[in-house]
């Protein structure tokens, strides 16, 4: 397929608020924080219609999505931008460098932040017998002009729906049964697992060019990071990771 990569691409930020009303409020706050630091930003909000109260119009584009917690995967396939910076709604932009996020793509198809062993102390899940999640699906840039990227985003959504909602796909063992020894069933809930599977195990995407943000912790700074373990480096995006707080509380006590 002929792909026009030479003309100025339309760049913008994609945010998704679905399922829970607080994510709509987080998304509005995130949009305003983007505009604080990148006043000319193009922003698309994908939102469950029942969450809307009129304030969604602060986005340049509004896409309606369903009501599951993972509508982001559908939103990714519907981005109006050529180059999209997807940001999880429960985040805030903290630095003017945000406008340079698109440059990080640097010829790649997708650029992610990393999930590393050093930062595992504040992740909900990372390692399992069959491997370890390495790419973070929270904030990333992708070039949607490329067919392989379009296919990837569609497969991310389709595989995830099959693994979690329909439960008709999961890696199988030699007996053809779901391989819960290598890939624990608890990982069904994670779209990060789907991301890992597609990038590691699916031949179709062996040529997908993906990389990690330079100084990637800056671009997805978990509010739960402990400075002595993960030194602060002028965060561009702070991620409040509202659904991860429970694990943190379990380990370190209630937030109260």
């Amino acid at each position: 397929m002929l792909q026009n990569l030479t003309q100025d691409p339309y760049k913008g930020y994609l945010i998704c608020a679905s399922y829970a009303p607080n994510f709509y409020l987080y998304a509005l706050n995130l949009i305003e924080s983007i505009r604080d630091h990148d006043p000319n930003a193009n922003i698309c909000l994908a939102v469950s219609p029942y969450l809307c109260d009129g304030r969604e119009s602060i986005a340049d584009h509004v896409i309606h999505v369903g009501d599951t917690p993972r509508e982001k995967l559908i939103a990714l396939t519907k981005t109006p931008f050529d180059i999209t910076m997807y940001i999880d709604a429960d985040s805030e932009v903290m630095h003017d460098d945000i406008s340079t996020c698109f440059d990080q793509l640097n010829g790649n198809d997708i650029v992610f932040c990393a999930l590393t062993a050093e930062r595992e102390y504040c992740y909900t899940a990372r390692s399992f017998p069959g491997g370890a999640l390495e790419l973070c699906g929270a904030n990333f840039v992708y070039d949607n002009r490329k067919q392989i990227v379009k296919d990837f985003m569609k497969d991310w959504k389709d595989y995830y729906w099959a693994q979690h909602y329909n439960k008709d796909w999961w890696p199988t063992n030699e007996e053809g049964q779901p391989d819960y020894a290598l890939y624990p069933e608890t990982y069904r809930q994670w779209d990060q697992f789907t991301l890992w599977w597609l990038t590691k195990k699916v031949d179709k995407y062996k040529d997908l060019k993906f990389d990690i943000f330079e100084d990637d912790a800056r671009w997805n700074w978990y509010a739960l990071y402990i400075e002595s373990r993960t030194p602060i480096k002028d965060p561009a995006i702070i991620h409040h990771h509202s659904w991860g707080v429970s694990k943190y509380e379990k380990s370190y006590g209630n937030i109260g």
Partner: protein, 155 residues
């Protein structure tokens, strides 16, 4: 043949060096080994020398035990400082989360939600602590009230 082996990592339990923590490995005639963690006193309750203690001193040596004790104390100090530092940082992380939720709540107050003052709203969004959240919230609310009063002609 049954054996008794003392691990070399024994350390003093007190500064007077008459009580020691150690591990004894007992191996029976069939080669089955059992680890025993022991606290040995130099003397028994009746004041007589403890033969296990004497055996440990001969096997490991007082100097080695003193060295182990110093190394262990240093390691514990470093661990304690690290834990204290992490506790402070965890509190900071929790505060950050509380601050975020407070800002989200502030932006739901009608007068703030409806305010068109981007500068003050931006300052509220960038507030570094709850006091700043309260101050900027108050400023926005006051401005909105003043605008409403001037629109209705009241003083």
């Amino acid at each position: 043949m049954a054996t008794r082996d003392w691990l070399p990592n024994a350390f003093w339990e007190n500064y007077t060096q008459d009580k020691v923590k150690c591990v004894l490995i007992l191996t029976d005639d069939d080669g089955v080994a059992i680890n025993q963690q022991l606290t040995l006193s130099k003397f028994g309750l009746d004041g007589t020398p403890n033969t296990d203690f004497i055996e440990l001193m001969e096997a490991v040596g007082e100097d080695q035990i003193t060295k182990n004790t110093a190394e262990r104390a240093e390691k514990k100090t470093i661990e304690r400082k690290k834990n204290e530092q992490e506790k402070i940082e965890r509190e900071r992380a929790k505060s950050l989360h509380r601050l975020f939720e407070a800002k989200i709540q502030a932006f739901e107050v009608d007068n703030i939600k409806n305010s068109k003052n981007r500068i003050l709203k931006s300052k509220l969004r960038k507030a570094q602590n709850l006091i700043e959240v309260n101050v900027y919230s108050m400023m926005i609310i006051m401005e909105e009230i003043n605008v409403a009063e001037s629109d209705t002609g009241s003083v």
